[in-house]
């Protein structure tokens, strides 16, 4: 093993060591020990990632096995690493955001009794996510995939005494399992037809797979594989209709909303499809499917962000919508744009979430935006960094989000794949919607009248819509400020990560767009077929980031975004009566949005209720009724009955026996004589 390979191992194992220390020996090492150990682990991983990044930059990639997990049926199942340009970018994003979140957590979870447990979980998450992105095969990908799902489950339910939290985490796990169901079938198809689970070996056979049909169903194999794999991505990256778990996941503590449910884990699906570009490129049907799902998510989840009053939920719906943008980019073969948006989004969305967390702390755990207003005075760092994050999110020129989102829109514009027209409509309108809800939130929180410190009204209405468990107010969720109390700026462990995340949120797009989208950075990693446009057209018109931003000032997306900001300003700053009036006028639409298109209710009744009903039916009618009732106990009863009957023959009266015997002899003799 070379030194470099040892370093690859260090990256995931350092956070794992931290997680084990904080998890198993949390009492022993105490609170300080726990955060020192885990932060050290993640910091080591981050520094090692930088070093590996430099090494990859110098042209040294790696693809090799760490150990053979199992061999069976002619297949070798391995744990191994693939270190290339895509991996190393993900490693940097994951370890950097994770490091920021670790530091931030010191402040955010300061008073929580589960301090060590929390640090253990987030370090375990970092380990799992790194194993996922560093994998060189489908098995380990699935390992990481499920492991991040597990940690997400544990963290959403971190405050386990809260009924809404443990409802949300079960829901998250099960909805993800629906995705994994597809994902596993996709992996099964790959194993069955390619005879390997190693990326490189499978990709080498891609064109061969594209010509085959599936044995039993007769479907085109490659399309089936890609759609199955993408169903996995739909679960993890919360695409319609498997998006339902993500808004509820906000029940978890805010740091993990930033790390897991915005910056990293939910983008695993995007990463996976980009990684599988050699397969997806061969199926236009699958790409169209991806595109339509992504476009629907991008627009319709954005709408939901408009009606939310919980600050975290606004950011959550914006995450859904942005994931939709990334998926759209995948659909039009602009994989590098998807990954680029993944990266910029990781920074500015982590920033926005951590900013929201800082606001929540300042508000003493009140999350309702209707109780905020005018916070800029009290929380200057949070205010400025949130503004920067919001500008990046809406794609304001020169901010990182501009470069990534504009590239996606242009790529959709250039694409000819079926569904591209619909997608273009969705992503364009989505720009307006994004700007509107982002600045609605911004104005409601940081500007306008100070509404805190009053008796608050109607909170928690979004927390428990359909399920039986009541009481969303349990735990330390909705304390809020006492009358007369003022919000306060958060301590430095919280504000420093905000500042550190604000830097890439603003700048990273400007500096990296050229190599990542139009340069050779992803050569040999991401494939775009000759029949797909991808980013070619965009590349032809690219004359540097400055020119792109200046040009961006004159295009429709910019004006749509500005329109969104102005409308939000007008509605929430100038004429605050308007939203309520609109709400009254368009009652049915508001009801639809308020109920999130009734997805939750449908799932609750149809799937959850249906499964319970079916289970009860099979149990009572099948097991207890038919099998036990009729077959088993029936047999026992029959035996008993026969015994009862035969007892009747044994009466003990000699004359009855004699009579029976005579009749028997008579019958036998009759047969005997008539046998010839």
């Amino acid at each position: 093993m070379t030194d470099m390979q040892k370093l690859y191992l260090v990256v995931p194992l350092a956070p794992l060591a931290g997680a084990i220390l904080a998890g198993l020996f949390g009492k022993l090492i105490g609170r300080t020990g726990a955060h020192v150990a885990t932060i050290l682990g993640v910091a080591v991983a981050f520094i090692a990632s930088i070093y590996i990044f430099r090494d990859v930059q110098a042209g040294n990639t790696f693809n090799g096995t760490v150990y053979t997990w199992m061999e069976a049926g002619g297949l070798s199942f391995e744990v191994g690493f693939m270190i290339d340009q895509l991996t190393v970018m993900m490693m940097l994003v994951v370890t950097f955001v994770s490091l920021m979140v670790h530091i931030y957590t010191i402040g955010y979870m300061h008073e929580d009794p589960g301090y060590q447990r929390f640090f253990s979980y987030i370090s375990l998450f970092t380990f799992s996510m790194l194993m996922l992105v560093m994998s060189n095969n489908f098995l380990q990908l699935f390992f990481g995939w499920e492991a991040v799902g597990l940690v997400s489950y544990l963290l959403i339910g971190f405050w386990y005494e809260r009924p809404t939290a443990i409802y949300a985490n079960l829901k998250a796990f099960l909805v993800n399992r629906v995705g994994d169901f597809g994902f596993l079938l996709g992996i099964g198809l790959v194993a069955a037809y390619a005879g390997s689970l190693n990326y490189v070996e499978v990709f080498a056979q891609a064109s061969d797979l594209a010509t085959q049909e599936m044995a039993v169903t007769g479907w085109p194999l490659i399309t089936a594989i890609c759609i199955c794999l993408f169903i996995g991505a739909m679960g993890k990256s919360a695409q319609v209709p498997l998006h339902v778990w993500l808004p509820d996941s906000m029940e978890g503590p805010t740091p993990i909303s930033a790390l897991i449910h915005a910056a990293t884990m939910v983008t695993a699906g995007i990463f996976m499809v980009a990684r599988m570009s050699p397969l997806f490129e061969l199926s236009d049907v699958a790409l169209s499917f991806v595109l339509v799902i992504g476009a629907t998510t991008a627009l319709f989840m954005g709408f939901l962000g408009i009606v939310q009053n919980d600050i975290k939920r606004v950011v959550a719906y914006s995450t859904l919508s942005q994931l939709g943008y990334m998926t759209v980019a995948l659909g039009v073969s602009a994989y590098s744009a998807a990954v680029f948006h993944l990266m910029t989004h990781a920074f500015f969305k982590a920033l926005l979430f951590l900013g929201a967390g800082s606001v929540i702390m300042g508000m003493h755990h009140d999350q309702d935006m209707r109780n905020m207003g005018g916070l800029w005075k009290y929380m200057p760092v949070t205010w400025i960094t949130s503004l920067l994050g919001s500008l990046a999110l809406i794609g304001f020129p020169f901010f990182s989000g501009f470069y990534s989102k504009d590239s996606i829109i242009e790529a959709v514009h250039a694409s000819h794949i079926p569904g591209a027209g619909y997608a273009l409509f969705c992503v364009m309108l989505g720009v307006f919607v994004t700007a509107f809800y982002s600045f609605r939130m911004y104005f409601l929180v940081f500007h306008g009248k100070e509404r805190f410190g009053q008796a608050h009204h109607h909170d928690g209405e979004h927390h428990h819509d359909e399920h039986e468990e009541e009481d969303a107010h349990a735990g330390d969720h909705h304390h809020g400020l006492a009358p007369g109390q003022k919000p306060h700026e958060s301590p430095w462990v919280v504000t420093v990560p905000l500042l550190l995340l604000a830097i890439p949120s603003v700048l990273i797009g400007f500096f990296t767009i050229e190599p990542m989208l139009f340069g050779s950075w992803f050569d040999g990693v991401i494939f775009v077929g000759d029949n797909h446009v991808g980013l070619e057209e965009l590349a032809a018109h690219f004359h540097g980031p400055v020119a792109m931003a200046l040009h961006g000032l004159q295009t429709a997306p910019f004006w749509l975004a500005m329109g969104g900001v102005v409308v939000a300003w007008f509605f929430y700053m100038v004429k605050p009566g308007i939203p309520a009036a609109i709400q009254r006028t368009f009652k049915p639409i508001h009801t639809l949005l308020e109920n999130k298109y009734f997805f939750d209710r449908f799932n609750e009744i149809f799937f959850a209720g249906g499964a319970r009903l079916l289970g009860k039916g099979l149990w009572k009618a099948g097991d207890q009724g038919l099998i036990d009732g009729i077959a088993i106990n029936g047999t026992a009863k029959l035996v008993g009955w026969i015994a009862q009957m035969s007892r009747l023959f044994q009466t003990g009266h000699i004359y009855q026996y004699a009579f029976t015997m005579i009749i028997g002899v008579f019958i036998l003799l009759t047969f005997w004589f008539n046998r010839g």
Binding site: E146, L174, L185, A192, A215, V216, R612, G615, L618
Partner: protein
């Protein structure tokens, strides 16, 4: 190495040791009985270790073979041996016995010596089943092993124990009588040989094969148990004491599945091929139907019992797709299920010992008072739901992969367990462990004792080790499974 009869030791150390424990007599000597039982169980496990260490993975032949005439007049022999299919079960059985002794340490206060002796004797008998190469020897062990389990349920069981014990006994006895007929028929056809290995080579026409196949199917199908002859299991589990449930789930269910591989597939390969569709259908019904039934159980033990049936559906499914991935996956699933279901029942036992209730509704918020327990229970629940990096994943994954290879729709049906398994296990976990403290009884719960911590920790290590590195488990299987498949592919007609 081979001079020492390790297989005989694996059988007779626990049986004779068990009789010794029995000799300690009344409950005045209970501490002695417990200590002695633990000693015997550990010794019983130690003598099985050479079976793995000295196992030659490169051959499919029987190893550690012992052959002595037993009843020469009928050519019945004391014939033992293990191959890659059976060797791991001997180890698993001996290992689980230690867990059972530890699990019943404090809980069983009446007839301690008899309780421990029952389990030790049963352990030896079951090792006999896994290593018999003589049909009659197999049958004797197979039937004899019913008795201790019957006693365990009938004596140390719950309020409805008599119904459960009789149901269990009759169910399995009816099945195995048909098997006895099949064995006798084979004996006659094979010119007076009871050697299972001879029977593997015995030519049989399709009518004979079909009859024998169904005789075996009933015998082994009841034991597995396969749908629709599974209804004895939930009753037996609910009434059995914790140790009984552990052995039942971890080992006893494996006997039936093992029978398919040792008897049905190699002796009547053409019938096995012919009726594979039937078995696959029954298995998928077990996986899906039982998954739904498990979802709505209100009794934790019943829930895990149904989950066992569903998991065993994966085993029979894997056997009858005739590809190495699926068969090895099924075998791995059997081993893993031994650890996981054993651990699940022990966990429920831990709760039951404190609360004397298995009703999910009586619990809630256990994590507040038993955090260590909650952590272990989480691990085993996740393993039960087939999470990667636990042993529960490995077998399921292999069988699903094999199924997709065999026929996409069968893979599709099998993969539904991903959702159902997670749903019933984690929903139960949520209601029992999470949430606010449900009542004053839960508020007074004490966390794991050192003894409970020990056996759960050992099982946790097993579950994780097998999930992270299953290589050593599958390594020993390859030669035997490949040979089996070659054998099945050749028609006997």
């Amino acid at each position: 190495m081979t001079d020492i009869p390790f297989l005989s030791l694996a059988i007779w150390v626990p049986i004779l040791g068990g009789l010794l424990v029995l000799a300690t007599g009344s409950d005045r000597n209970a501490p002695l009985a417990r200590g002695l039982a633990l000693l015997v169980a550990i010794a019983g496990f130690i003598v099985t270790i050479p079976l793995y260490v000295g196992f030659d993975a490169s051959t499919s032949a029987m190893q550690f073979v012992e052959l002595q005439a037993w009843i020469p007049r009928f050519n019945i022999n004391y014939h033992l041996g293990v191959d890659g299919i059976s060797v791991l079960f001997v180890l698993l059985n001996a290992f689980i016995t230690i867990m059972v002794v530890l699990g019943g340490w404090k809980v069983i206060e009446e007839k301690v010596a008899q309780y421990m002796a029952c389990f030790l004797v049963m352990s030896g008998l079951m090792n006999g089943i896994f290593s018999s190469l003589d049909g009659i020897l197999f049958y004797v062990f197979f039937e004899a092993s019913l008795i201790p389990l019957y006693l365990v349920i009938g004596i140390w069981g719950g309020p409805n124990r008599v119904y459960a014990a009789i149901k269990f006994f009759l169910y399995t006895l009816c099945g195995s009588l048909l098997m006895l007929l099949a064995l006798l028929y084979l004996f006659m056809q094979a010119d007076g040989s009871f050697s299972i290995l001879d029977w593997h080579q015995l030519p049989l026409n399709i009518a004979e094969q079909t009859l024998i196949f169904f005789a075996f199917l009933v015998a082994f199908g009841v034991k597995v148990p396969m749908w629709p002859v599974h209804t004895w299991l939930p009753d037996a589990h609910v009434e059995a004491p914790t140790g009984g449930s552990v052995v039942l789930a971890a080992i006893a269910l494996k006997l039936g599945a093992y029978g398919f591989l040792r008897f049905s597939l190699p002796i009547v390969p053409d019938a096995a091929q012919e009726y594979s569709g039937l078995i696959i259908t029954l298995s998928l019904i077990a996986v899906i139907y039982i998954g739904f039934v498990a979802l709505v159980q209100t009794d934790m033990k019943k829930l895990v019992a149904y989950s066992s049936i569903s998991h065993m559906g994966f085993v029979t499914l894997g056997f009858f797709m005739f590809n190495p991935l699926a068969i090895e996956g099924a075998l791995v699933q059997m081993i893993s299920h031994g650890f996981v279901s054993g651990a699940m029942f022990l966990c429920i036992g831990v709760l039951y010992d404190r609360m004397h209730s298995r009703q999910i509704a009586d619990y809630g918020g256990v994590v507040h008072t038993m955090p260590k327990f909650a952590a272990f229970f989480m691990l085993f629940s996740m393993a039960n739901a087939g999470l990667p990096a636990t042993s529960g994943f490995v077998g399921e994954f292999m069988v699903i992969l094999g199924a997709v290879q065999f026929n996409f729709w069968i893979g599709f049906g099998a993969a539904i367990t991903l959702i159902l398994g997670a749903a019933y296990t984690l929903w139960m976990y949520k209601r029992v462990v999470f949430g606010p403290v449900a009542n004053s009884h839960v508020a007074e719960l004490e966390d794991l004792s050192a003894r409970e911590f020990a056996f759960l920790a050992i099982l946790a290590v097993c579950v994780l080790a097998m999930g992270l590195y299953p290589f050593p488990f599958t390594e020993v299987m390859h030669a035997s499974v490949d040979e089996l498949l070659r054998h099945v592919a050749v028609s006997k007609l």
